[in-house]
């Protein structure tokens, strides 16, 4: 990977940069512009909340930021690298080494224990069995699921599954954490715990966090709020408060 050499760049260079990015689904009459020319720069250490009505392109944008998808037009630079130019394998390595992703639909492996689900990204990072166990347990502990490590997704509630998904995303200690509605299925007490966790990760481990949420209360934890509407950024402002 050539990305490491860009890691040292100082703040003037954004960690992520979307340059006139659009994403088009379908063709002809069914043509659908999920993103219609988005420009967005996110710097290392930021905590960004993305808000906006349903269907405004938030998940589409997250998928592109997570190197899971590529823009139809425009460019996405991750640490200065044009992701659109990378091969499938190179993008996979980016995801493996730098990204943690919490999916809107969890995407856990069925019939697989919470612990093994959380271990999965560590296996692909080539971490040995003992460290894997230890790190996975730590991550489950952090999301408050230490007592559920042997349960499979089928045996967990929606909120618990969501927390396993969060544990899986943070277990590798990624430089960028992308979370698509990480509190969507949680009650407010749990939600606050998760937000505290994200805040701690952002502040103490210097993990850049980008989070989609519908709730003002959750967005309030972020340092910056970006509003989407119809595939475009409507507003983008910093919050002055400090938690």
């Amino acid at each position: 990977m050539t990305t490491t050499e860009h890691l040292g760049h100082s703040p003037p260079n954004p960690l992520l940069e979307l340059r006139d990015v659009s994403k088009i689904y379908g063709a002809g009459d069914a043509l659908m512009k999920a993103l219609a020319g988005v420009n967005l720069s996110i710097y290392a250490g930021e905590f960004v909340a993305i808000m906006g009505p349903s269907g405004s392109g938030k998940s589409t944008c997250m998928n592109i930021l997570g190197c899971l998808d590529t823009p139809s037009t425009g460019h996405y630079f991750f640490q200065g690298i044009d992701v659109g130019e990378l091969s499938r394998n190179q993008r996979a390595l980016l995801r493996r080494n730098y990204l943690g992703f919490v999916f809107q639909g969890f995407n856990l492996l069925n019939r697989t224990s919470a612990l093994e689900n959380v271990e999965l990204p560590l296996i692909y990072r080539g971490i040995n069995a003992r460290s894997r166990r230890r790190l996975a347990r730590q991550a489950l502990l952090a999301v408050g699921l230490a007592d559920r490590e042997g349960h499979t997704p089928g045996e967990l509630s929606g909120g618990q599954q969501q927390r396993v998904a969060i544990a899986r995303a943070i277990v590798t200690g990624p430089s960028l954490l992308l979370a698509d509605e990480p509190t969507g299925n949680l009650d407010s007490a749990r939600s606050l715990e998760i937000m505290d966790l994200l805040t701690v990760l952002n502040r103490d481990k210097n993990i850049t966090v980008v989070m989609v949420t519908h709730e003002r209360d959750m967005a309030a934890y972020a340092k910056r709020i970006v509003h989407f509407k119809d595939g475009l950024i409507e507003t983008d402002h910093q919050q002055e408060h400090e938690l």
Partner: protein, 401 residues
């Protein structure tokens, strides 16, 4: 990376016990069916081959009548001892010539009696028919010449008349003849035609003619040809001499028949080979069906698992890592199934060969072929559908339901 693939593959297999068992079942059934059938067929072939070689090497049989099997006479004039003597003297390349007369009779000892075949022949008979002595002795030239009242009996006759007692030096009665048992033959078991080769009593030919048959007839002349001599040439020579001796005109058909035992042997082994071929074909079909079973389950499981593949890719697995995992899974399943199938087949083959009284002959070739076939099917059909899924964009694979 291979280590990781192993961990992941084994976890998946353990997690999907039912699917793993179903996949293996196809392989197990296919592999064990083909191996069992081919092994049994091979055993039967070997049995026939052994029986043929026990008939005696390079054996020609001259029988009375046209193109008929031994023992059938169809009205033509029988041979005489002189015929055999002339052949022995005039044809080069022979080891021995044995004139044979056969009749069925009842052998009696004390209050036991047993209906059997009595063979009258010379001392050459034992060599030509590949009969070896187990106890006592064979009759000698002078006993043969004078027509002594002696006999050599087979194991079946010995057991029927004497039970576990030694038959040697006891007198048995064959019609008007009372003769001393001087020898017991080694057991030869069933012949390739299914008759009991141990159900036999041999007496000197002259004794047979005088005391049992009451005529000078010889039904059969057995001729043993030297190794390396062309039996076809000998056959023509025998025919030529016999035609002269039987005063046949140039346009007369032979009223006797020279049979090359090799031809019979060939015919028999062809039959068994055809049978083995059929069995193998049945086995091949079951292997194929097993293969299709593997194919099905692998295809279904990959479709089911497209979302799983999407998750792995999204988390940062490389395409080749996902493929390797599937490949290892398929390999572990197919080889495990193959090994179970082989073990099962060998157990079945041993048991069945006992029941069918066919020797168990291990056929290494078919074991390897069956194993490789199922392994290939497993790997190919585990690999290609997985490759299709692993080439999807992670987002597309994740959306798959």
């Amino acid at each position: 990376m291979l280590g990781n693939a192993f961990i992941l593959a084994l976890r998946e297999l353990r997690r999907n016990v039912m699917r793993s068992i179903l996949t293996m079942l196809g392989i197990i059934i296919g592999v064990s069916a083909v191996i069992t059938l081919v092994t049994l067929g091979g055993g039967a072939t070997q049995q026939v081959t052994e029986q043929i070689s026990s008939l005696g090497s390079n054996l020609l049989m001259i029988s009375v009548g046209k193109r008929m099997g031994p023992g059938q006479t169809s009205g033509a004039e029988a041979f005489k001892i002189a015929d055999a003597e002339v052949l022995d003297r005039e044809v080069n390349g022979l080891v021995a010539v044995a004139p044979v007369a056969i009749g069925s009779t009842t052998a009696i000892y004390a209050n036991q009696n047993w209906s059997t075949n009595v063979t009258g022949s010379t001392e050459s008979f034992f060599f030509v028919s590949n009969q070896k002595i187990a106890q006592g002795r064979l009759f000698n030239v002078s006993e043969a010449r004078i027509g002594a009242s002696v006999c050599v009996i087979g194991q079946t006759v010995a057991t029927k008349l004497f039970g576990s007692q030694s038959p040697l030096n006891n007198r048995i009665r064959l019609q008007k003849l009372s003769c001393i048992v001087i020898g017991l033959l080694e057991s030869k078991g069933q012949s390739s035609m299914g008759s009991d080769q141990d159900d036999i009593v041999v007496v000197p030919l002259r004794t047979f003619q005088r005391r049992i048959a009451g005529n000078q007839d010889v039904n059969l002349i057995k001729v043993s040809v030297k190794d390396g001599v062309n039996t076809e040439d000998i056959k023509h020579e025998l025919e030529r001499i016999m035609r002269v001796r039987r005063h046949l005109a140039a346009n007369d058909d032979n009223n006797f028949n020279v049979l090359d035992m090799k031809e019979i042997a060939l015919m028999l082994s062809n039959t068994t080979q055809t049978m083995t071929g059929l069995l193998s074909a049945v086995g091949a079909v079951s292997l194929l069906v097993g293969g299709i079973g593997i194919m099905n389950i692998m295809l279904v499981s990959v479709t089911e698992r497209t979302r799983e593949i999407g998750i792995r890719l999204a988390i940062g697995a490389l395409e080749r890592e996902v493929l390797l995992q599937f490949l290892v899974e398929a390999m572990v399943l197919s080889s495990l199934g193959g090994i179970i199938g082989i073990v099962l087949a060998l157990i079945t083959a041993v048991a069945l060969s006992g029941i069918l009284q066919v020797p168990f002959v291990f056929q290494g070739g078919i074991v390897i072929i069956a194993f490789l076939f199922s392994a290939t099917v497993g790997v190919v059909f585990g690999y290609f559908p997985a490759r299709k899924a692993a080439r999807l964009d992670p987002i597309e694979a994740l959306r798959h339901e």
